[in-house]
Symmetry: C2
Subunit: 357 residues, 2 copies
Amino acid sequence: GKAPESTDFANYFCTYAYLYHQKDMLEDHKRTGAYYNAVLQNRRQFHGKVVLDVGTGSGILAIFAAKAGARKVYAVEATDMAKQARTLVEANKFSDVIEVIQGTIESIELPEKVDVIISEWMGYFLLRESMLDSVVLARDKFMAPGGAMYPSHARMFLAPIHTEAGARRNTDFQGSMEGWAEFIGEMSAYYQVDLSCLSEPFRREQRDYYLQTSQWCDVHPSQLLGPGTPFVSYDLGKVTVEELKAGIRENFEMAVVEAGPVNAFCGWFDVQFRGSDASPADSPVTLTTAPDPTGATHWGQQSFYCVPPIDCAAGATLKAAIKVDRRRDNHRLLAVELAVKVEGQSGGARELKWNIE
Amino acid sequence: GKAPESTDFANYFCTYAYLYHQKDMLEDHKRTGAYYNAVLQNRRQFHGKVVLDVGTGSGILAIFAAKAGARKVYAVEATDMAKQARTLVEANKFSDVIEVIQGTIESIELPEKVDVIISEWMGYFLLRESMLDSVVLARDKFMAPGGAMYPSHARMFLAPIHTEAGARRNTDFQGSMEGWAEFIGEMSAYYQVDLSCLSEPFRREQRDYYLQTSQWCDVHPSQLLGPGTPFVSYDLGKVTVEELKAGIRENFEMAVVEAGPVNAFCGWFDVQFRGSDASPADSPVTLTTAPDPTGATHWGQQSFYCVPPIDCAAGATLKAAIKVDRRRDNHRLLAVELAVKVEGQSGGARELKWNIE
Ligand SMILES: Nc1ncnc2c1ncn2[C@@H]1O[C@H](CSCC[C@H](N)C(=O)O)[C@@H](O)[C@H]1O
Ligand SMILES: Nc1ncnc2c1ncn2[C@@H]1O[C@H](CSCC[C@H](N)C(=O)O)[C@@H](O)[C@H]1O
C-alpha cells in the first residue's frame, strides 16, 4: 500500500508512528477494555470469520479478533507502526491468522471480502481527525453483505456546564491585551514604529485563541448543569462519506437542571457495539466518554467556553442549533457554531463559534 | 507570488502567519535592537539604495531601511502576515517607499536588482529552519554586483558545559522505562497480550527523545566549562546553496578551563553586520546568542546532553569532529553528530548524536 501523502503525514499521521502515542491509547483501559469486551464477549460473531482492522496501530484489536477465533484478520496501518504490529503479532503467535499490511486503507487491496470491520477511529468530539471517512470507505470497498461494524453506532452529546476554566482563559486573554499595550509602547519608544494599527488584528487573533478554541478537559459530573443531549446519531453500517463531508446541522434542546450561569458547553461521544442486523452481538457493549467521577478517558471531553456566560434559572430549557464542519485549511480539524437561546426569554440567540484544534 | 507548498506550510511556515509569533520575535530587543542599529547606524549604506527584505514578517526591517533613507524597499513575505505588514507600512507612512509582496521569495520577480538584502533568517543553532537557502537564492537572483548582505557573516559555536538538565532528562528516561514495565504487566494481566517484544523499540524511541534530542536552554555563563569555539564561519556574500545542503564537517578543539564532568555541550551562533567590500558598514554590529547573565535571546542556546558525562581535568583539551546535516524526513530540521575525545586520554572517541527538533 501507499504511505500517507506528505501534508497529511505532517498534519495527522506522524504521531501515530511513535510507540509512546500507541501506548497512550493502549493504556486507556476504559477504551481498550471496551474493545476487548466487544470482541471477546461476542466470540460467536468473530469465530471463523474474516475481519479487517482499519488502522491497526500496534495490532491490538487484530489480536483480540484472533483470540476470538477469527479465521483471518487483515490489519492495515498507514505508518511504520505496521512493522511493530507485525512483531507483536509474531511474538503472540498469531502470524498464521493476522496479516499486517502497511499502507493507507484507501490505497490497499484485499483478496477477499470481510465479515467484520473493527476500528478505533474516534477523535476528540468524535469527529476530529476525520478518520471515520477512511472506515466508511473500507466498509464500502471490502465488506460482504450483512457484515458487522465494530463499533456499529456513535452519538455526540452536548451539555451546559459550570467551569472556572473559561474565566481563566478570559483572564489570560485580558493579560495578553495588556502585554500588547506594553509591547506597542516599547516599539514606539525604542524604534519609533507605531504598531497600533495591528491592535485590532491582534485582539481578534488572541480572542480566537483564548476564547474561541475548544479545550480538552476532564469534567466532573458535578459540573454538569443538565444532562448531555445526544444531538446526532450515526449508524456506522449505513452512513455515507458524503453525509460526513456535509457536516452536522441539528436543532435540539438542552435541559438546565441547576441554575446557571452557563459558562461553557461540554461535548463528548459514545460508541456502541451492537453488531449488524444479520449478525447481532450476543453482548452489546457501550464505550462512553461522558463525564466520569473517576476520571476521563484519554479523549477527555471538549469544553466550549461561553464568554460572557448565559444566565438561566433551574428548570430552564436551552434551544440550540449546532453546525459542525471540517475546516477548510485542514480537513482533520473542526469548526463548531452554536446558536443558543433560553426558551421564553426575549431577545435573539447567542451566536457562538469555536475551532477545535 | 506563490504561497508555500502545503507540507512546508504544515511543517514550517504556518506559525509565522500569527501576530503572536511575530510579536515574540519583535519583543526580543537584543535581536530587534541589533537590526535597528545595523541599519540606522549605517544610514550611508542605505540612503538612496534599493533594498530587499527577505521574509519581512510584520515589515519591521523594511521600515528600518525606509527610515534610513532607502529609495525603494521590496518586502517579501510568504504568509498572510504580508497583509499585516502592508497595514503597518501604510500606518507608518512608508507606502511610497516600501512595496510588500506576498509570496515565497523563490516564486516572485522584482523589476530591478537590489543594493542591499536584509533578512532575519536565523533559527535555533543558526541553521534550523534552513531559511538561509532562501536568502542565498535571493542574493543570486536579485543582488547587483558589490551589493551588501545584512547580516554579512555568521558563525556557530560549541562549548562544554555543566548542567543539571541532562541528569533530569536521564531520570525522566528511566521513569519512562519503569512506566513501560508496569504497562506491559497490565497488558498481560488484563488482555493476555505480551508486549515485551516491543520493549527494545520503545527503549530506543524514548532514549532518542529524552537523551538524543537537543533542547532549548538559557545557559548562564557560570555553566561554561570553557569558552565557545567557533567551528564554522560563513561569508553570506559568497556561501552557496550547495555548500549549505552538503552540511557541516569540521574538526576543532574545545578548551576545558574548569574541571568536568562535561554533561552537555552548548551550541549558539552570532551574526555580524559588516556590509560588503564595496560598501562596508560605517558601524559594524554583532548580534550574539552566547550565554548571557541577563538572559538569552528568544533563540536561547541548544543543549546537547552527554550521558554518561565526560570526565576531564581543568586545562584539558577536547578534540572534536562535528557533522551537522538536514534531516531526510524534514529538511527544516537538523541532525548533529559529534565525535569527541579528551586529548592525551587513551581509548577511542565518544560518538554522540542528537536530533534538533
Ligand atoms: N486511512 C488510514 N489507513 C490506514 N491506517 C490509518 C488510516 N487512518 C488512520 N490510520 C491509523 O489508525 C490508527 C488509529 S489509532 C488506533 C490504533 C489501534 N487500532 C488501537 O486501537 O490501539 C493510527 O495508527 C493511524 O495511523
Ligand atoms: N522563502 C521564503 N519566502 C518568503 N518569506 C519567507 C521565506 N522563508 C521564510 N519566510 C518568512 O520569513 C520570516 C522570518 S521571521 C523574521 C520576520 C521579520 N523580518 C522580523 O525580523 O521580525 C517569516 O515571517 C517567514 O514566513
